[in-house]
Amino acid sequence: MNWKTFFAILARDAHVARRNFVALLFQTFLQPLMFVFIFGRVMVGSGYMPESYKSLLLPGIMAICMVGTGIWAVAMPLIAEFQFTHEIEDRLLAPMEISWLAVEKVVAGTLQSLAAGLMVIPAAWLLLRPGVDLRVPHPLLFAAVAVLVALFSATGGLALGCSMQQTHIGLMFSLIVAPMIFFGCTYYPWSALQKFPVLQKAVLVNPLVYASEGLRATLVPQFPDHLPLLASLGALVIFNFLLFTVGLRKFYGKAVS
């Protein structure tokens, strides 16, 4: 394996991300933070929501930011570069196995997703305080969940970015990403679906459920009604594996005819 090439390509992605930093910042954080402000601050402050909602909301918002960032960072360039600008061709001709370029994309997406996740915590905390009660009794477990969520976002981005037509980008967001967010236990804990038993079972096919619940279990364990942490970890590992396998195959199909 040619690590020099791998890291040079990673450095290229970092360079481009740095160049687009301000735009990325708005794109990633503006909408979730407005949601935090309205639901966590305005609705709680006016008495429509209980105070504890603040703590339940924050892990969900973190999951949305991470997944949104990773998918965007990996899928959008892939869609454009394979179908429109062909920018990726120079990297496909770099002296490295083609599949490693897909791995590089996943690593770059994971890093960006982690950065987004870690930045949204203080931002949301500032917007919501007082009343947010983050405990994190097991930082290593939290780190493991965060890495798996970030990997999920990047492998999901790889699979989507290599499957979607450029003309279907709008559909990708309205048919896949938006339902995933709304039925992903992001704005509410999974236990809140108890009164909707069918829905509660159905949402379990949504990987974002495990991301939100996994973060909830490690960030705010004082609310015990979350999915078992082991189930979240296991499901995320399986989804990551599946999405990476599918994504890699699709990537290869796009790169070589």
Binding site: T5, R19, H86, L93, A94, V256, S257
Partner: protein, 341 residues
């Protein structure tokens, strides 16, 4: 290490639509007749139908052919981007498909469509490319500077390439392909859309690069370019090599060398036979019910005689076009079609 290019009976059959720049040769739609089966076989498109080439190290070799002849697919296979259906392709001693990483170090590629990294400046495009190939920071800075200078891009070096003109993008693409000093340079339609001045600069740079012992394979459908630049060329059509040799040899292989494209009110086989008997005429081919292509070893001096034969036979001569010995005539002779058609 000097490296040449070798292919043996290369075949490529696409079962899905081929990539845009990978032109498609002969069309043959396989199957689809078995009514009993609900699942129809995918249409098969034969892009290459047994291409064998031997390009010696240090040669400028040209693949000439119309759009869809199979030029880009050949380049695609030689540059690891297209998997051959059958046959073998070598760069130097390395079989391309099984030694992709080694081969990628030996080759530089300029694709037919622009594929520059729009998120980078011109200089960054070169330096990052150098980094992918493991050049040190000092070395890639130095080479980028020299190439920007050579390709007359220094004053735009630190601008994003999004706003570059087509010609500037093409120059930068070629500079990028040369950045890691490859032994074999592939240029797929390098001068398409370039103004004459830039084209001359490009030719000069290609000759200069070749003078340092590098092998260059370029594809074109521009006869003039092939004639001016190439030491040898292969004319390909429908995925097959239909002629191969130096431009001089190939031009000499056209019967007579001169081509008179004639158009009459109407003509008959007897009339064409009479034209063939004129002195210096080597071959007469009916193009359609009113047209005829006349291959001969002289050009203008034949026209009065053709006119005389026509008037005695009561056939109206409507149009005459004379072309001198050229690759265009060669292509027409082999395929019955003009390159531009």
């Amino acid at each position: 290490m000097l490296a040449g290019i070798r292919t043996r009976e290369l075949r490529k059959v696409y079962t899905s639509p081929p990539p845009v720049a990978a032109g498609v040769g002969g069309f043959s739609f396989g199957g689809g007749k078995g009514k009993g089966k609900s699942k129809q076989p995918k249409p098969q498109i034969v892009a290459l139908d047994g291409i064998s080439l031997d390009i010696t190290p240090g040669e400028i070799f040209c693949l000439l052919g119309p759009n869809g002849a199979g030029k880009s697919t050949t380049v695609g296979i030689l540059t690891t981007r297209v998997r051959p259906t059958a046959g073998e392709a070598f760069i130097g001693d390395y079989e391309v498909w099984n030694n992709q990483v080694v081969v990628k170090r030996l080759i530089g590629v300029v694709a037919q469509r622009p594929n520059l990294d729009f998120n980078l400046t011109a200089r960054e495009i070169l330096t990052f490319h150098g980094a992918y190939f493991g050049l040190s920071a000092h070395e890639r800075g130095k080479r980028a500077e020299a190439l920007l200078e050579r390709f007359k891009l220094t004053d735009r070096a630190d601008q994003m390439v999004r706003g570059f003109s087509g010609g500037m993008m093409q120059r930068l693409s070629i500079a990028r392909a040369m950045m890691h000093d490859p032994q074999v340079l592939f240029l797929d339609e390098p001068s398409a859309g370039l103004d004459p001045q830039t084209r001359l600069l490009l030719w000069e740079i290609i000759r200069e690069y070749n003078a340092s012992g590098k092998t260059i394979l370029l594809t074109t459908h521009n006869m003039e370019e092939a004639d001016a630049l190439c030491q040898r060329l292969a004319i390909i059509d429908h995925g097959r090599v239909i002629a191969l040799g130096t431009p001089r040899e190939l031009k000499a292989s056209v019967p007579g060398g001169f081509l008179l494209r004639l158009r009459f009110g109407a003509h008959s086989p007897e009339f064409l036979k009479r034209l063939e008997n004129l002195s210096g005429v080597r071959e007469v081919r009916a193009a359609d019910s009113s047209g005829a292509d006349l291959y001969a070893d002289r050009g203008g001096s034949l026209v009065p005689e053709v006119a005389t034969v026509a008037s005695t036979a009561g056939v109206e001569l409507l149009d005459v076009h004379i072309s001198e010995p050229s690759l265009e005539n060669l292509f027409l002779h082999h395929t019955g079609r003009s390159l531009r058609e």
